[in-house]
């Protein structure tokens, strides 16, 4: 399977380790989006700060992050996300693509979506900047088909409970207070944070996914993104 690592040249291996967390869920088709959004938003809640405002002498102040409750329609579950429509839109777009790919792949309904946090390290021309991942979240999804309404009702509740467990797992990882990129100077901030949103500032992240078709080979659409990113530089 194609690697979902980012644009670093294989030879330039970074010294730090990228911690990787894997979560697995089994859901019904119509629950895929909400389940993915719940997990991704929970991770990003912990990995977003307020906007930085740099002042003189290298000091900076931080904006305020608002939060809001989201109720799921197809799962007995609710989660908290950062109050940022831009961020929500970005996640919904990625999750929507993932869901469509799952559906249209004709596979057994197995796939995974990954959320990777990375830092950029500037290289001198003609080399492109390195992306050094420092945290990788992978959600493995197994889509099940249920025969009747009774099963669906159980599924609503069960998946809700499973997601509760996932949230607890995510919080456990966050609480380890392991490596986080150093707070950057003003000139470096775009190498650590995504400063493109107007109200919050998540760490630089990228989302990719893999669909496993029934032959066991996987197709990734990260390639497209990577190529696009590379060309954009």
């Amino acid at each position: 399977p194609l690697s979902t690592r980012c644009c670093a040249a294989p030879g330039a291996a970074p010294a730090m380790n990228c911690r990787a967390e894997v979560l697995e869920v089994s859901v019904e088709g119509r629950q895929v989006e909400e389940a993915m959004l719940a997990v991704l938003h929970t991770v990003l809640l912990h990995r977003s700060t307020g906007k930085f405002h740099y002042k003189k002498e290298g000091t900076y102040s931080i904006g305020t992050v608002g939060t809001q409750d989201v109720d799921c329609d197809f799962i007995d579950f609710a989660y908290v996300r950062v109050s940022s429509e831009e961020l929500d839109r970005a996640l919904r777009k990625a999750v929507g693509e993932f869901k469509d790919a799952l559906r249209s792949s004709g596979s057994d309904g197995m796939g995974q979506i990954s959320l990777e946090f990375y830092q950029k390290k500037k290289s001198r021309w003609p080399f492109s900047d390195e992306c050094i991942p420092w945290e990788l979240w992978t959600i493995k999804v197994n889509v099940v088909n249920l025969a009747n309404e009774q099963e669906r009702q159980i599924c609503r509740e069960k998946v809700g409970e499973k997601l509760c467990e996932k949230i607890i797992n995510i919080v456990e990882v966050m609480n380890r207070h392991e490596y986080l990129p150093k707070m950057p100077t003003q000139s470096e901030v775009d190498n650590v944070f995504d400063t493109s949103l107007k109200d919050v500032q998540p760490y630089l992240y990228k989302i990719s996914y893999q669909i496993t078709d029934s032959l066991g080979t996987s197709v990734t659409t990260t390639m497209r993104r990577l190529i696009k990113d590379t060309l954009a530089l």
């Binding site: 809640l45 906007k51 908290v80 995510i170 919050v200 060309l231």
Partner: protein, 550 residues
């Protein structure tokens, strides 16, 4: 040796952080149990008033209760701050659901930077708390409160008391933050043998307010939800409102430095106004729940100051349903806001029609013979609270539909286990396990209770309620409602439970395993010509793909 003692400025800052962290923790927990969705705005410009860079509202009454409980102290070893969440039914029975504990242990991290790392980690911990408060069982219970029960909170400081949670309670850790004076830990212990309250059950039971909906002229009470959107009215402070305690005005101006840590600049300044400005004092209308004691809560007015950025009232989505807390000294006596340890007298002059509304809101209880519902004298309200405490009636048919024990993720050790798996019923996994003991279950067939005269003439049931003791309010409170919701399906070839369990934990796909490197290089090289051939065949597709990138 280097001086590892905390500088006095650091110490002051740390104490301040811990204090405000404790207050924000309480706010997050209580707000998560009000039964409504919370929504606060992000703001890119720091206002200086949002502690830990998070937009968390401060409900003044909650801050007041928290400060009262803390009494100027900070969490320390052996002195924990606890927020107890409990459920109280319309019959007056109550049960502890959760205890959230903010504790301090002795493990110190002398090296950590207070004004930077500790602060940011406390912020992260609050985010974790926001997330975790939505995943314990009490969250879903609190979202459905208002009809047959309400959720209440109590804050206390000192030793953690977990005995009211029943057997086999579970604990979830929210997180820890090391500081130079100790490690702060935040966790939640929650009852699990009351795991499941089915939405379906509630839909079957008509809400109390729904019966009398046409009594309302002014504010129709939608039967589907006990919540009201916020209804802000700027208005005068009438004294029943909390004084904004002055250091809740404290501004937290954080400046972080990216230069070497020793140059961290962190200032906490008091806001430039010392007395709470009457900028915009909004009044939250607290909707009445159709329960005997609730009028006391609705007779108070909550007021708070919205975030300085002046976000409009319409888009706040601020939770309105507010359940008052218990007085620490008298756990069953309800506290009305604005009064120390007692029941507040309700202002006799209605302001903005709220009082009139509230009285009217209270009258639906007349429909169930609750004639003592005039909130105008503390005497009556004393009686009400005492009698609601004393009521431990036999609402078995009401409760029966509420409490269903479910075998599921939140259930640990069911009482009186009976193995159902070998019974020939569908989905045996999901069936409550206690069916045979229903007859012995006191909640199904309650013991006869003596009739006593109660100032509340009648209850929600037509029979009088007993004045029996509250001794068993803390007992395990499990109603068994064995009505398997799913009929047997002959089409399904195997037991759904087994089926479900199997696919819930699918085996790891070999193609997803990490040891791809185990494949030999030779294999890869061998497959290359084949792959190239395939790609060449699809060259048109790839060209089209490249087109889309342009």
């Amino acid at each position: 040796a280097m001086d590892t003692d905390l500088s006095s400025q650091d110490r002051k800052d740390l104490d301040k952080f811990i204090k405000f962290f404790a207050l924000k923790t309480v706010q997050v927990i209580v707000q998560a149990r009000l039964g409504e969705k919370i929504c606060t705005r992000s703001s890119s410009s720091p206002t200086g008033s949002d502690w830990f860079n998070l937009a968390i509202k401060d409900i003044p009454e909650v801050t007041h209760e928290a400060k009262k409980a803390l009494a100027g102290q900070l969490p320390a070893v052996g002195r924990s701050m606890c927020v107890e969440i409990s459920l109280k039914t319309s019959e007056g029975d109550s049960m502890e659901l959760e205890i959230w504990c903010l504790e301090m242990n002795e493990k110190c991290d002398k090296e950590i930077k207070v004004s930077y790392t500790v602060y940011n980690r406390l912020s992260l911990l609050l985010k974790s708390l926001l997330a975790i408060t939505r995943v314990t069982p009490a969250y879903r219970l609190s979202r459905k409160q208002g009809h047959e029960y309400v959720i209440l909170y109590r804050i206390y400081f000192g030793e953690v008391q977990l005995s009211g949670l029943g057997e086999g309670f579970q604990t979830v850790r929210v997180g820890t933050v090391g500081t130079p004076v100790g490690t702060i830990t935040l966790s939640c212990a929650y009852r699990i043998n009351l795991a499941f309250m089915s939405t379906r059950q509630f839909e079957r039971t008509p809400p109390i307010m729904g019966i009398i909906i046409d009594h309302f002229v002014d504010r129709p009470y939608p039967s589907s939800s006990p919540m009201h959107p916020c209804n802000y009215r700027a208005g005068e402070d009438n004294g029943a409102v909390y004084p904004s305690v002055e250091d809740s005005q404290e501004v937290c101006t954080t400046s972080f430095s990216t230069s070497p840590p020793s140059q961290c600049v962190f200032t906490v300044t008091k806001a430039h106004f010392q007395t709470p400005p009457p900028v915009v004092t909004d009044t939250l209308k607290v909707p009445v729940m159709g329960l005997a004691f609730s009028h006391q809560l609705s007779s108070s007015r909550l007021s708070y100051q919205p975030a300085a950025l002046g976000v409009g009232s319409a888009d706040m989505g601020y939770p309105v349903l507010f359940a008052g807390g218990f007085n620490a000294a008298h756990p069953h006596q309800l506290i009305g806001p604005g009064k120390e340890g007692g029941v507040p007298p309700v202002p006799s002059q209605p302001a903005h029609g709220t009082q009139a509304d509230q009285e009217r809101m209270c009258t639906p209880l007349d429909g169930v013979h609750y004639s003592a519902a005039t909130p105008s004298s503390s005497e009556d309200t004393e009686t009400v609270s005492n009698s609601s405490e004393g009521k431990c009636g036999s609402p078995h048919d009401l409760l029966e539909t509420i409490f269903v024990r479910k075998v599921g993720a939140f259930v640990n050790k069911p009482i009186n286990q009976v193995t159902m798996a070998n019974l020939d019923i569908p989905f045996a996994m999901f069936a409550p396990k206690n069916v045979e003991l229903e007859d012995n279950d006191p909640m199904v067939n309650p013991p006869d209770s003596p009739e006593t005269e109660s100032p509340l003439q009648g209850s929600l049931h037509s029979e009088g309620s007993s004045g029996s003791s509250t001794g068993n309010t803390h007992d395990d409170f499990v109603m068994i409602d064995f009505k398997p919701a799913f009929s047997k399906d002959d089409i399904l070839p195997m037991d759904l439970g087994t089926f479900y369990r199997e696919f819930q934990n699918p085996p790891q796909l070999s193609s997803l395993s990490i040891d791809i490197g185990a494949q030999s290089m030779a294999e890869d090289l061998d497959s290359l010509p084949e792959k190239l051939a395939v790609h060449e065949k699809n060259v048109k597709e790839f060209d089209a793909f490249v087109e889309t990138l342009q």
